[in-house]
């Protein structure tokens, strides 16, 4: 219990520090001005979300191989936390785009691919609600999770190729292309902070799922008497 509290405290501190750095340490970008500061939050969230989905994928593979429930707990935790982060990416993207381009959505390659990613993992979670038996639910969602994850590079690749046929405005300009050293440092620190925060959320969600399984087990024992 105390380890979780320490993780929570560390995550909180890092995140506050990262926000401070994004506003007061990073210099103002020349062309975009103040709005560019969303970049630190938006892209860090994207990376952390992606790592969460990767953890889900690992859980899925391990479950299919070992059939131990804890891997399914990792799967669902990774998927939900990843979805939370991806949702924030999809919200902050348009908030950035609107003052700059005057439109909310630009079919920018990365944002569009992120939207498909979001849809894939929403489907993953929906599939889980439609299978009642726990072992079957774990197996089917793990298999779909594996297919979904290997689809992700194909989605990003296809949409990026498609975008070169139909150029659209690009969110945040060529990302990373013109980052000054201070900006780079602030960004990597933000990404690190977001990853710790993501880890904290996954630990909490995992514990919840573990408890839920125990409760179900006990409830069934109770019924048996």
């Amino acid at each position: 219990m105390s380890k979780r509290i320490i993780l929570a405290a560390v995550a909180f501190l890092l995140v506050v520090a990262a926000a401070y750095a994004s506003f007061f340490i990073a210099p103002t970008e020349r062309t975009m001005g103040l709005i560019q500061r969303i970049f630190y939050f938006h892209v860090s969230s994207a990376w952390a979300g992606f790592t969460a989905f990767f953890l889900c994928f690992l859980g899925n593979l391990m479950y299919v191989w070992k059939r131990e429930q804890k891997y399914d707990w990792l799967g669902v935790s990774g998927a939900e936390v990843g979805l939370a982060f991806t949702t924030v990416v999809l919200i902050t993207g348009p908030i950035w785009a609107h003052p700059v381009w005057g439109i909310w959505w630009t079919w920018d390659a990365r944002l569009t691919s992120t939207f498909v990613l979001w849809l894939l993992y929403v489907s993953y979670l929906l599939l889980r609600t439609l299978v009642d038996e726990p072992d079957r639910r774990a197996l089917l969602s793990s298999l779909f999770g594996i297919f979904a994850f290997i689809d992700v590079p194909l989605v990003f690749g296809a949409i990026r190729w498609w975008r070169t046929q139909h150029p659209q405005p690009v969110i945040m300009g060529g990302q990373g292309s013109g980052l000054e050293p201070t900006m780079k440092a602030v960004f990597f620190f933000s990404a690190f902070a977001m990853h710790v925060f993501m880890a904290f959320l996954i630990v909490e969600r995992y514990s919840l799922e573990k408890m839920h399984t125990e409760a179900d087990l006990l409830a069934r024992e109770l019924e048996a008497q």
Partner: protein, 224 residues
């Protein structure tokens, strides 16, 4: 018995089952036709726009039709629990998938080829100039749809609300196929046709990736 002969026997069964009633083919053809007509009501394209949007709409219609056509794939094995018998009969469960996905690809291709002349007429798009490349794209795209669709229909058959679940699982997964097939088709059917080899290669890669995944994980999809 080898993978090849098992697959051949199962494929024969799939084809004969379908050609006895032809219900899958006829309903799919009619469905695509209806969708294509409805599209033209919804956007009333001019002749120039038809050339730009038409191929994309055709692929969208194919995707929708496929997500319906793939429903019975594993559902009809549930009725008399024929799936267990199939699994006992063959050593490698992959042959079951291979037979079904080849059959589904063929059904889709037949549907598309039947649709092509009507598509050309309604959307005023001449299809003969680059027909061979168009057929290549249709084949690679349909193969991708079938591979993913056959795998996912094995999953959705074991869940509730399967009619709604399959499209929900399948359509996001197939966005690469839709995007690339539509774009390649548009350039092929342009006034100055261009063959996008990168796109065609991409479709082949997609098919290969999911075929491999199905080969690796297929047996778990059919677990009791």
């Amino acid at each position: 018995m080898s993978l090849f002969s098992n697959t051949a026997v199962l494929l024969n069964k799939e084809l004969r089952t379908e050609f006895r009633s032809r219900e899958l083919l006829t309903t799919t053809v009619v469905f695509i036709l209806v969708v294509l007509i409805l599209f033209s009501f919804a956007i009333s394209p001019t002749s120039e726009e038809s050339r730009e949007f038409g191929p994309g709409l055709l692929w969208l219609a194919i995707l929708f039709a496929a997500s319906l056509m793939l429903q019975p794939c594993f559902l009809r094995e549930q009725g008399n629990d024929t799936l267990s018998s199939l699994r006992l009969a063959v050593g490698d469960p992959f042959s079951i998938f291979l037979a079904k996905l080849i059959a589904n690809t063929l059904f889709l291709l037949v549907t598309e080829i039947l649709m092509l002349p009507l598509f050309a007429i309604f959307y005023n798009i001449p299809i003969f100039p680059e027909l061979h490349y168009l057929l290549l794209v249709l084949f690679l795209g349909s193969l991708g749809i079938s591979v993913a669709g056959t795998a996912l229909s094995a999953i959705s058959a074991q869940a509730r609300m399967r009619e709604l679940l399959l499209p929900l699982l399948l359509l996001p997964l197939l966005t690469p196929v839709l995007v690339v097939s539509a774009t390649v088709s548009v350039s092929l059917l342009d006034r100055q046709p261009v063959v996008q080899w990168k796109g065609i290669a991409f479709l082949a890669v997609f098919d290969l990736v999911f075929l491999t995944a199905l080969w690796l994980f297929g047996e778990y999809l059919l677990e009791e």
